[in-house]
């Protein structure tokens, strides 16, 4: 497996989700990741990216969101950085999953999905940046 880290930049627009998908598929193929694994990584980064675009910026200027993928032996480290307002999604409340359809709320669902699909999630505020780091064990899902 290549140990090199791979990084790309996305503009602060939801249409960049297509670019996120393309980049992850390219990276996943090089690493020989299963379709399921690429799907899960895509979903986790999509939820974070969508959150950043929806709530992260107080102005209408174009911002850059940087994604870095680093394979470390059996673990894949995913990092997403933005220069938006300080926001720690890890502190978000868990949604109530026992609810009926009428009571069911969608808030907090994105972070709930991430917690279930990833093995570790860590937030840091570094200077004027939000830095979210995810870790996923890829030993079992590789070459699927």
């Amino acid at each position: 497996m290549p140990k090199k880290k791979y990084s790309f930049k996305l503009k602060s627009n939801l249409s960049e989700l297509d670019k996120l998908c393309e980049q992850l598929e390219k990276f996943g193929q090089v690493l020989g990741l299963s379709k399921k694994c690429i799907f899960e990584i895509n979903l986790a980064l999509d939820e974070l990216f969508t959150n950043i675009i929806s709530y992260g910026f107080a102005d209408d200027d174009e911002h850059v969101i940087e994604v870095t993928l680093t394979p470390q032996n059996e673990t894949l480290c995913l990092c997403i950085e933005d220069d938006g307002v300080p926001f720690n999604p890890v502190a978000a409340k868990e949604p109530d999953l026992e609810c009926t359809v009428e009571d069911c709320k969608i808030g907090g669902l994105g972070i709930h999905l991430i917690r279930n699909l990833m093995d570790e999630i860590c937030y840091e505020r570094c200077g004027d940046k939000n830095v979210l780091t995810l870790k996923k064990n890829i030993s079992a899902t590789e070459k699927g």
Binding site: L14, S15, L17, D18, C21, K35, K36, F39, E40, N42, L43, D46, E47, T50, I53, S54, L97, E98, C99, T100, V101, E102, C104, I106, L109, G110, H112, L113, N116, L117
Partner: protein
């Protein structure tokens, strides 16, 4: 994402093709609610050609389900790929949404 809309008996069928995310969910929401506003009460969403769904897609399905419940209508979801179905399961949506294996199973429910 491509959405093909068909009508069979009194059932509106939406066939999704591509990726349902925060960039495409608004278009899907509009199509569903346009159908509800002209009287559609029974719906089938066909996931056979859908490669991807995020919480933005789940949100539209939830909203449509609530609206159809108020109209005393019904929604059925069919033909999901395993990892798309897993997203519904992790979200806990499989407890109140009828997800069936094939289009035939969905049609039989009406």
């Amino acid at each position: 994402m491509e959405i093909i809309e068909e009508k069979q008996d009194m059932i509106s069928i939406f066939k999704l093709n591509g990726r349902l995310d925060s960039n495409t969910s608004q278009g899907f929401e509009k199509k569903i609610f346009d159908a509800i506003s002209v009287g559609s009460k029974n719906m089938i969403i066909d996931f056979n050609e859908l490669d991807y769904i995020s919480s933005a897609g789940l949100r539209v399905i939830l909203k449509a389900t609530k609206a159809l419940n108020r109209e005393e209508g019904k929604i059925m979801l069919c033909s999901m790929q395993d990892y798309v179905k897993e997203v519904f399961e992790i979200a806990g949506f499989d407890s109140f949404l009828p997800i069936v294996a094939t289009m035939d199973d969905a049609l039989k429910a009406f």
